[in-house]
Symmetry: none
Subunit: 123 residues, 4 copies
Amino acid sequence: MEWKLRTDRAVYLQIVDYIRKQIVSGEIGSGDKLLSVRELSGVLNVNPNTVQRAYAELERMGLVDTMRNIGREVTGDMDLIKKSREELAKEYTSEYLLNMLAMGFTKEEILMSIQKMEELKNA
Amino acid sequence: MEWKLRTDRAVYLQIVDYIRKQIVSGEIGSGDKLLSVRELSGVLNVNPNTVQRAYAELERMGLVDTMRNIGREVTGDMDLIKKSREELAKEYTSEYLLNMLAMGFTKEEILMSIQKMEELKNA
Amino acid sequence: MEWKLRTDRAVYLQIVDYIRKQIVSGEIGSGDKLLSVRELSGVLNVNPNTVQRAYAELERMGLVDTMRNIGREVTGDMDLIKKSREELAKEYTSEYLLNMLAMGFTKEEILMSIQKMEELKNA
Amino acid sequence: MEWKLRTDRAVYLQIVDYIRKQIVSGEIGSGDKLLSVRELSGVLNVNPNTVQRAYAELERMGLVDTMRNIGREVTGDMDLIKKSREELAKEYTSEYLLNMLAMGFTKEEILMSIQKMEELKNA
DNA sequence: GTGGTCTAGACCACC
DNA sequence: GTGGTCTAGACCACG
């Protein structure tokens, strides 16, 4: 998954989104260890404090468990992961549709513009 | 169009998005006057300076013309408006698809989840 | 003389400059009547109040005399006009040189760039 | 370079001019760090917001790069700097000549008055 | 410490 | 009334 830093949104929230998508997609499975704060901060080229904050947020959501002195791993609560995936999908879809409808696109136009996008060419 | 303030994005950028959608959708047409800085700041309940900044940004984009001491109006450049609409739609669609694909949804699932959304019920 | 409204300088000051140049150049001679406030505001397409303010400033400088109920005319004080012309030229030249020197141009480069300007082609 | 506040031009634009001249003259070279917003606001004795606005404008021009949480530096795009220098010089020269010609000075008089200016004595 | 944003409130030029 | 600018001071995200 690509990582592209934006300037119009808090970096730690962008990291939360980034990890969360990896978890709900199964790219990182239940019980898998997450990168350490230092490792991830190196990979993403951000300050360790920022990664720390993102991890704290993911723990609060229940998607990540911390094992003292050992590391962090993805929760074993498959139901929570599945529920998160559906919620996220609904949020993204809802926001997208509201934006497109607000710009005056019709249902058909929206479906068409999705069909035509390159991103779906090999999906 | 509804107005809901978020906390994870600069307010002036949210105002830019808000007005821009109204312009590209035709909700505000070419030549129509925009609310004055003071009026809009009252409506949105934000500081006039914040609205001023958003308007300056829209002006920089060319979507808004400023008539000093008189007010602001939507540009008469229909081509620019049309172009903006298409660009915006492409951006929204691309970002949406990337998010959904990153979460492991397939093309069919994405199209299905759109079909099922309530937002499209009366569109 | 051309008239081009800027937005980064008070309009009434631009009008003052505009008239003053016409006076010191002799384009409007001693004793000549100035356009009325209404006429000039029509020509320049600005509010009469703004022209009024510019004229007041020119009177303060002594370049313009007001004859009650008759109109305004250029002062008969030729010395003042001549002095104004020299002062203005010195100011313009000084400011120009300071700007060019600040940008790192040498005396020769400055003289050269003036020689090459089209504005001087038919002067 | 001297700093003298005028009252007939927006302060933030004066700051833009001030910094821009330092950049195109090479007084501040590519990659050099600019004073922080707070530092410069202290030096110039203006509000930090005013400096912020000026810096944002320079960034928009491409002359300055912002490294968030670190500082700002002069762009490494030497071509842009060179182009800016030439454009600025042309603008200043053109405006100067138009003013002098409007006051009735001839080409020779203009060149003479430049030669005589003290500013060029040690240039 | 850095830059980014926002509020509150003021004054100006102009219509 | 309009837009444009500025000050004063605050909080945030980030390093």
